[in-house]
Symmetry: C2
Subunit: 268 residues, 2 copies
């Protein structure tokens, strides 16, 4: 099973890309999902080289999106930035850019949803040209005000379905979707549209909002049931462990990798 495990770099927020790549190699993890700020820090050509030389594959690039903005000029700027993310993904041989769609600039959440659809439409031609897919990640509704107005699987799918499945799909993060009464219905509908899967867990009490995620097995998410439903859609790509958690961030990276590999085997 571990051959599908991918390390999402935010899980070791305080480590460089190089440190993450080396830890992947030490722990037999064959996939990595780099974040753009760390790629920029290392430099794009060096990032490409170090990932390739380590024999790793890239599962996705985090992240594009953040389309809504108060002015047309700002929205065009965001679109340009997304085109750059696509270029970086192409260089890194990342099949997909994860889209965290962004919050509303003011109170008009439905207006912001329209800006998201327009933003995606604006970057699809470039994504197609560069051979990179766009993965719309619905975020948990607790992030609706500050990170993404796209907050349910249904909504993400409806949006993705406006585009060709070879260009636009969705990314399913269990932390964001586990609570949804329509989860399994929407997962069935998502067959052929799933471009990525993120795993972590929802512990009680939640250790934070942005930093509220826990190691698989430490929370209430029915990981095995969700995993089975995703398998049933035919998705057989990498499964990223993406955990934002201050305690995990502050421990040595090898401890994090040991936990990830063990819990991935146990829970996924």
């Amino acid at each position: 099973m571990i051959e599908r495990l991918s390390f999402n770099q935010i899980t070791a927020k305080y480590s460089t890309l190089k440190e993450c790549v080396e830890a992947c190699v030490r722990h037999g993890v064959g996939w990595i999902a780099p974040w753009r700020d760390r790629v920029q820090e290392a430099g794009l050509p060096d990032s490409v080289r170090m990932i390739r030389d380590a024999g790793l594959r890239v599962s996705s690039l985090c992240r594009g999106g953040f389309f809504p903005a108060a002015t047309q000029a700002e929205r065009l700027e965001r679109i340009d930035d997304n085109r750059r993310a696509i270029d970086q993904a192409a260089e890194l041989a990342a099949p997909c850019v994860v889209l965290v769609c962004g919050p509303a600039p003011h109170r008009d959440i439905d207006g912001a949803r329209t800006m998201v659809a327009e933003g995606i439409a604006a970057i699809v031609p470039h994504a197609r040209e560069r051979g990179v897919q766009l993965g719309i990640e619905p975020l948990h509704p607790m992030f609706a005000a500050d990170r993404s107005v796209i907050v349910t699987l249904a909504e993400a799918l409806d949006l993705a379905n406006q585009f060709d499945p070879s260009n636009v799909g969705i990314v399913v993060d269990v932390f964001h979707v586990w609570w949804d009464p329509r989860l399994y219905v929407e997962l069935r509908r998502a067959a052929g549209r799933i471009l990525g899967v993120h795993v972590s867990d929802w512990a009680v009490p939640l250790p934070g909002i942005v930093t509220g995620r826990s190691m698989m097995g430490d929370g209430v998410i029915e990981l095995d049931r969700i995993r089975a439903a995703i398998d049933d859609t035919g998705y057989d790509g990498p499964i990223e462990v993406e955990i934002m958690n201050e305690k995990i961030w502050s421990q040595p990276i090898d401890q994090t990798f040991e936990q990830i590999v063990r819990r991935y085997r146990e829970c996924m």
Copy 2:
């Protein structure tokens, strides 16, 4: 407009029922929604008397629910407790008991949803007998693990629709539902089922999880739009201000009431 304003007692968590009743009178607020712990503290007959003598009306009693539990014995205990809540509501002339449905005892969220439906079915006859309605309140999905497995308007409505509308309806709290892409569709469907409305706001950054609510106008919720959609359903009952916020809790109750009355006029 202020004639529909109701003071939900949790907004002054550290005040007794008597202090809240007196503040309502001082500030011209004609409705109150007491919490059971504070009613118990004051004693039920004294609570009934002080509310009646003050000329206040009760908009709802908070709260029943919490149906799911690991064992049948515990589930029956919860059902008994809900019957007591119904009795207390009847004594207080509260038209409705607000149901916060409870979390799953283990990981099986859909199993817990079934326990909620069974729990409500078990108390409906008693509610009918006592002339008290049951208001299912969908909670924000960030409370799915520790407070309520009922997390969307659609789900709450589907559940309510299993029962006679004279016995079971829903309570719409803007803090819990504002993010939902199906909000306005579901509100239209809720016509005739709305038993109560709660207002507050969602500030960025959120000041907490359980204590994450803010005064109307201090956040991103489209209060006027939601209010209009609720009006369109024909709901013309009280509108409760329910705010759980450490800063508001720690200020003098008259300051809280002044803010509430002013913001209610401005935002609702």
